[in-house]
Amino acid sequence: MKAMKKYIIAVFVLALCSSCANQLEQFSFLAISPDAVDIRDVPAVRNGMYNSVQNKPTVRSFILFDMLGGTIQSNTGTSRDLINATLSPLNSTIGSSWDGYFSALYQVNNMLDIANRFPEAELASLSKGEAHYFRAYIYFCLVTRWGDVPILRNNTLERVSRDPINAVWAFIEEELDVAATLLGAASSYYYVSRDAAIALKARVLLSQGKKQQAADLAESLITSGAYRLDAFERIFRSTGNTEIIFAFENRTEESSINISDLFYTYGHPNRGQGAYKPTPETIALFADGDNRRAISLVNIAGTECINKYPSGQTGRDPVVVSRIAEMYLISAEAQGRSLGVGRLNELRRFRGLGDIFPANDEDYLTAILTERKRELLGENFMYHDLVRTGRAQEELHLLNHQHVLPIPGRELQLNPNLVPNPGY
């Protein structure tokens, strides 16, 4: 018994001494420290940037200008109800868009830091070019929503102030120029190319009323031969097409952006929560001969729904950022009635409609905007189109202050240096 006692105690002591040394240092199995990023990680950081710019702004950011543009309505109210309900500093879509764009910007700026840290890395130069494009893309989204916004060339914890809108536009143009010099052709239209930078710049210039430059850039893409108008059946059904200049691939397993879910109802085989549907006026825009109609609209159990994103709840669909039809419309609008109407009719003919010849500039602008409603429905254009052309008040019954979005209430509370947009 004595011997056993000693033996047992010895085992105890041994067990006690051998336990738990260094077990208090635990590290994630899913992550690395940002300091530990090395030259081999640059491609992964690049993919992370694409993923972030695609996902962070959240789904409604990709149709916000439709929600505010009078072309769609919620399933319970009119488009005017939807606009009034959305344009509030407490609205969650407004808040998550703001948060999401800045969250995406953080990853973009981080990409630039890392690419600058490892200039000799594979893809470093390409990644930089893409990052400059994304910065311009994000700021285009920000400036067209909130007007003056803080320009963040580097990530910062400071409580920043808003920069004037002109400085923001200048920053966007500068970023696109840098991007264009660093970028060339892309491996597919799911990656940013030099053409994508040019297409976005054309849009940016048109927004600022720099019509001649906008027309020149749009024409350069139309005449380059790299892109041709193509059928909606190919553009919006993930088939090879000649239209798209840049789109987010938005693969099911990589994405939280499910636009289709918001448009389809539970009556559709693919299911959707059916939060928004086209207004009767939008439905009426599509003539029988319009070959865009079947892909733009679908009748689900008696309700017309937007049909451009086909997956419903079963998956995700690519989100187009730029395609050549927009260049036709930019060119047509920027060149003015006499020079531009040709491009407009070219597009109309391709879509199965006849030529038109508006009698005056007002009618011409109306025709352009109507064509944009048909062509770009559900692609995040309308609100900005109406605001930049001065038609928003009349068409959408907007109050003066509703021409920009409210800065989210949360952000105003947490950063007293931000001045709210008046009226909210």
Partner: protein, 1030 residues
């Protein structure tokens, strides 16, 4: 055994008795005998009862004690004399049979029933890493004995505590089976997510994570796996002096659960069988408008809209009135369609016994339940084996193992898109679930507004399966009863499987069937060594422990999302057309050193000190270790000589201690992380997810406690009184930051707060001959206040309706304040008129006076915390009958009745409350409370005090009638005890709250607590059962 006797010696009554144990000689010529049996209140024989007969005239004393059949015989008494016969036993009320006339011969017999003492001063209390006599306890520890009279048909032990202990409040997510719970001990001590106390079961700090792996609309209790019938007692370590021994996780208090064990010198077989019915209570309390009323108001809302915007038939945006598409068919009773009368059946059995060397306990239990919502059901199996073996006088080994299994067929909770009550009660009254051909009407389309609740329930197959092993193996080495060393290996291993299957006909089934198949394995291992030292030096006694522990918790998950099944018969991912999967692993470790010393002088003056230090992997190396000391002192005033014999027990206690909290923190929260999974184009990508914070450190709480334990009239009345103040500093919080930083929150030490409160418990125990009346009343109050926060004093808005602000309490609401209804268009400020506000709409308090209602106009008001709360229990016993009536109450808490938001919107597309529909504003002066019907209203449904309701209530928690069959009758059948009972739970509720149950919440986080979104109320339960002992 020796030690046990020593303990007994110290008890007052026994000291007296032992002094008098000098054998007394009988002088009398006619010596005679009293024989008898002593039983407890349930009719079980009581061993070890000291029986003492006193002859008042000659002051002679005679003693005997009962054997394990409860039988005694007192010899040497004089025939023809009267004696007072007193019965004493530890833990039981002293019983005296006065002036018992002893006759000559063998016929003197006594049958005595002794009742258990409640809150007896000399009970033994489980403290951290050991037990202590109540007399030596200097901190605030409350004990709840779990027995037949305190059991309720609930799935989690936490729910047993409801109203039982002063300062402990509980709530459940809903009345669904296995729903998550919240236990709050002395208010809210921390801001970080869980705020739950630490649960320690038989010495093992368990993991208590949400059982749900796929968020099915409510959190699920991980404690629901446990067998409640196995629990002997629940101790609540309330103050820091008692909890500090658990250091870094003790700020929110500690719940110590002790399971039953075999008792020396006994062999018992326990068998409990019960079953019953459950009901959805107060179903008709929420009254919805019928079709006629609904359509009238809806069309008024449309007319108001069209008129306001000048719209005529044919105009763009013109809204058309509706009519009942089903003509004169009767309205659908939507709630009747989804509810049912639930039922349950439980059987549990235990075999226990022990000798001096070996004690064991084996138990098995099976429970099956059906909830009050169709398809909600739960099955539970629990097994336990416990054994200890004294190999040699210096060596004991033992083990305690429990295996538990739960399968819970869930229904959608209140925050899911298919929330079952919301998808029933909110449907328009004329709509119906089935088409004439039997097909479902599909929700979210023009034919039905919301998801069809029958489609939800019928076409899903959703269940949780928990397999949980909880147990330990230990060895104790002893030296001379003074020193012992216990080394144990403890484990809490839970395997959870969460199966969420939507077939192709379910709204979420994607038309092709979808399975979310999730597995989680949590391994929680604890290796612990504790050295205990007991000694006496003259009048001083010392009890000391020192120990070391190392705990490692590893969590491994596998998630599969499978889509596309050939038919609903295929339910595993391999049959799916497409699968996506992910897996995870996280490890968290904690190393601790702890010690405690209790020094007492003649049981009069007691001083206890504890010290613990914890090192956690959740903090950076330089901030890793936290120190948690405590000191407490007690004065047993009644042990002083001047109080001797007064029949009064009086103890004064005071304590101070520091505890920590690191709960609700991510495992790697201090580290900046660049996480994987941010893929694009089928290639892996990484992105920064957190900035990290190496300065992050322990949240610390310092708590003062002053208390009195008072026993009056020889223990007939007991009072416990405590005051405390708890100051938490370095509050850990995921602090909201401006989004331009790239993130929306940073985990940091943000500020400090204070909880102050008092607790009062009154126990009474009176005997009126055969009739006994026992009562327990408890009441507690707690005031929470945030004393500092990073930055300035402006409210930090959190969630949709709360704010944190210095000077306010956690759980304060941040809402718009209604100031009535605009009666005339002229009263509406221009800014509001422009966006469509008119007479009949709600007038909000425009705090900054700029005419616009925005974020600056919200006001911090109300609170989800009560002013006071507690419980009141009465037990009446007469012969074998016993009646228990238990009430719980809460006063002064506000509940955010968010369910009203939609159903109070008159003129909206969902069903409306008839109160709002009938009383709607129709013109100036008609009402100042109920707005006009308005389709597309954007003003009236704000997060506001319109939905803030008084949540005070008194609940008839349980009413139980039981009968103990007489032992004599049972002994023929070799049954030691048999008890039959009828119990009603939640029989009625007195409250102003307009909903079903103010005690449920869709969020258990104290910051967002008390939000009711049509949560299923706690059911009303009727139970009938039998408890048998062999």
């Amino acid at each position: 055994m020796k030690q046990k006797n020593k303990l007994l010696c110290m008890m007052k009554q026994y000291v007296v008795i032992l002094l008098l144990m000098v054998p007394l000689i009988s002088f009398a010529q006619q010596s005679t005998v009293i024989r008898g049996t002593v039983m407890d209140s349930s009719g079980q024989p009581l061993a070890g009862v000291t029986v003492e007969a006193t002859d008042g005239v000659q002051n002679q004393r005679f003693q005997a004690s009962t054997n394990d059949k409860g039988i005694f015989s007192l010899t040497g008494l004089t025939a023809g004399k009267s004696y007072d016969v007193a019965f004493n036993r530890l833990g039981y009320e002293r019983y005296i049979e006065r002036s018992f006339l002893v006759r000559a011969g063998d016929n003197n017999s006594l049958l005595v029933r002794m009742s258990e003492a409640i809150e007896k001063v000399d009970e033994v209390v489980v403290v951290g890493y050991g037990t202590q006599r109540r007399a030596l306890v200097t901190s605030a520890i409350s004990k709840m004995n779990v027995d037949e009279s305190t059991l309720r048909p609930v799935s989690s032990p936490a729910q047993l505590l409801d109203g039982r202990i002063a300062g402990v409040s509980t709530a459940t997510g809903s009345g669904n089976l296995g729903s998550g719970e919240r236990v709050s001990i002395r208010g809210i001590s921390s801001l970080s997510a869980s705020n739950e106390p630490l649960y320690v079961i038989d010495g093992v700090p368990i993991t208590n994570s949400n059982s749900n792996l796929y968020d099915f609309g409510e959190s699920m209790s991980s404690l629901a796996t446990l067998n409640i019938a196995d629990i002997e007692s629940i101790e609540i370590l309330k103050d820091a002096a008692s909890a500090a021994i658990y250091g870094s996780r003790a700020t929110n208090g500690v719940v110590v659960i002790t399971t039953r064990s075999g008792k020396e010198g006994r062999a018992d077989i326990r068998l409990n069988v019960n079953g019953g019915l459950t009901q959805f209570p107060y179903l008709n309390k929420i009254k919805m408008a019928d079709s006629e009323l609904y359509i009238r108001d809806f069309n008024e809302g449309i007319a108001n809209y069209n008129e306001q915007y000048g719209l005529q038939i044919g105009n763009s945006g013109y809204k058309r009135p509706i009519s009942n598409p089903f003509g004169n068919l009767p309205d659908t009773r939507w709630m009747d369609i989804i509810t049912q009368t639930g039922s349950f059946f439980t059987v549990d059995a235990a075999v226990s016994g022990g000798t001096q060397k070996m004690k064991n306990y084996f138990a098995a239990a099976y429970t099956t339940q059906e909830g009050v919502i169709k398809t909600n059901s739960m099955d539970k199996i629990n097994l336990r084996g416990k054994m200890s073996y004294e190999v040699a006088p210096w060596l004991e080994i033992g083990t305690n193992n429990s295996a538990n299994y739960v399968r819970n067929n869930q229904i959608p909770g209140a925050t899911l898109g298919t929330t079952i009550i919301g998808r029933a009660i909110q449907q328009r009254p004329f709509d119906r679930p089935y088409k004439p051909n039997g097909d479902y009407y599909v929700g979210g389309t023009d034919e039905l507004v919301f998801h069809n609740p029958m489609q939800i329930l019928n076409e899903q197959n959703v269940y949780l399966e928990d397999l949980r092993y909880l147990g330990n193996f230990y060895t104790t080495v002893k030296w001379k009863d003074k020193l012992s060393w216990k080394s144990s290996l403890n484990a809490d291993v839970t395997q959870t499987y969460d199966h969420t299957y939507y077939n192709e006909r379910h709204p979420y089934g994607l038309g092709i069937g979808r399975l979310l198949d999730r597995n989680r394995l949590i391994r929680n291992y604890l290796f612990e060594n504790v050295v205990t030292y007991n000694d006496k030096f003259n009048d001083f006694s010392l009890n000391a422990i020192a120990g070391h522990s190392f705990q490692k918790i590893a969590t491994r998950t596998t998630y599969i999302d499978a889509r596309g099944f050939p038919s609903p018969s295929f339910v595993v991912a391999s049959a799916a057309a497409e699968t996506m999967s992910s897996s995870g692993l996280g490890i968290y470790t904690l190393e601790s050193y702890f010690s405690r010393a209790t020094l007492s002088y003649l049981d009069r003056y007691i001083l206890t000190g504890t010290l613990r230090t914890d090192g956690s992997s959740r903090f950076a190396r330089e901030n890793r270790w936290g120190w948690f000391p405590s000191i407490s002192a007690g004065w047993n005033i009644s042990e002083e000589e001047f109080m001797q014999g007064s029949g009064t027990d009086l103890k004064f206690r005071m304590s101070y201690g520091r505890t920590g909290n690191q709960d609700g923190l991510g495992s790697y929260v201090y580290q900046a992380l660049m996480e994987g999974g941010f893929n694009y184009g089928g290639n892996s990508g990484i992105a920064v997810t957190t900035f990290g914070n190496r300065d992050l450190t322990w949240e610390k709480a310092g708590q003062y406690d002053v208390g009195f334990d008072i026993g009056l009239f020889n223990g007939k009345v007991n009072v416990l009184l405590d005051w405390y103040q708890k100051n938490t500093t370095s509050l850990i919080y995921s602090m909201p930051v401006h989004a331009t930083t790239g993130v929306t929150s940073i985990t940091t030490n943000i500020g400090s707060m204070r909880n102050r409160g008092a607790e009062f418990t009154l126990n009474t125990h009176f005997n009126f001959g055969q009739f006994q009346w026992l009562s327990q009343f408890n009441i507690a109050t707690n005031k929470n206040k945030i004393t500092s926060l990073i930055g300035d004093d402006t409210p930090i808005s959190i969630g949709g309706n709360r704010a944190l602000q210095t000077g306010q309490e956690i759980g304060a609401y941040y809402l718009f304040n209604m100031q009535g209804i605009y009666q005339y268009d002229g009263e509406v400020p221009k800014e509001q008129y422009d966006i469509g506000i008119r007479a009949g709409d709600v007038k909000w308090n425009d705090v900054d006076g700029n005419g616009i209602i925005n974020d600056n106009d919200r006001v911090v008001m109300g609170s989800s915390n009560p002013d006071f709360f507690g419980g009141w229990n009465h037990t009446f016993r007469y012969k074998g009958f016993s009646l228990d009536a238990f009430f719980s109450y809460v006063y002064g808490n506000d509940v955010y009745a968010q369910w009203q938001v939609d159903v109070a919107r008159v003129g909206h597309r969902n069903a409306v409350l008839s109160e709002y529909a009938e009383n709607r504003w129709t013109g100036p002066g008609s009402t100042n409370k109920y707005p006009r019907p308005m389709d597309g209203d954007i003003n009236n449904a704000r997060n506001s005090d319109r939905w803030l309701e008084d949540g005070s209530f008194i609940r008839m928690r349980t009413l139980m009638l039981s009968y103990n069959f007489p032992t004599q009758l049972l002994s023929k059948y070799r049954i030691k005890g048999l008890r039959a009972f009828l119990q009603g739970d939640n029989l009625f509720l007195i409250t102003n709250y307009p909903g079903w149950d103010p005690q449920v919440s869709n969020n258990m986080d104290p910051r967002f607590f008390s939000v009711d979104t049509f949560n299923v109320p706690q059911p009303r339960t009727f139970t009938v059962g039998l408890n048998a002992n062999f």
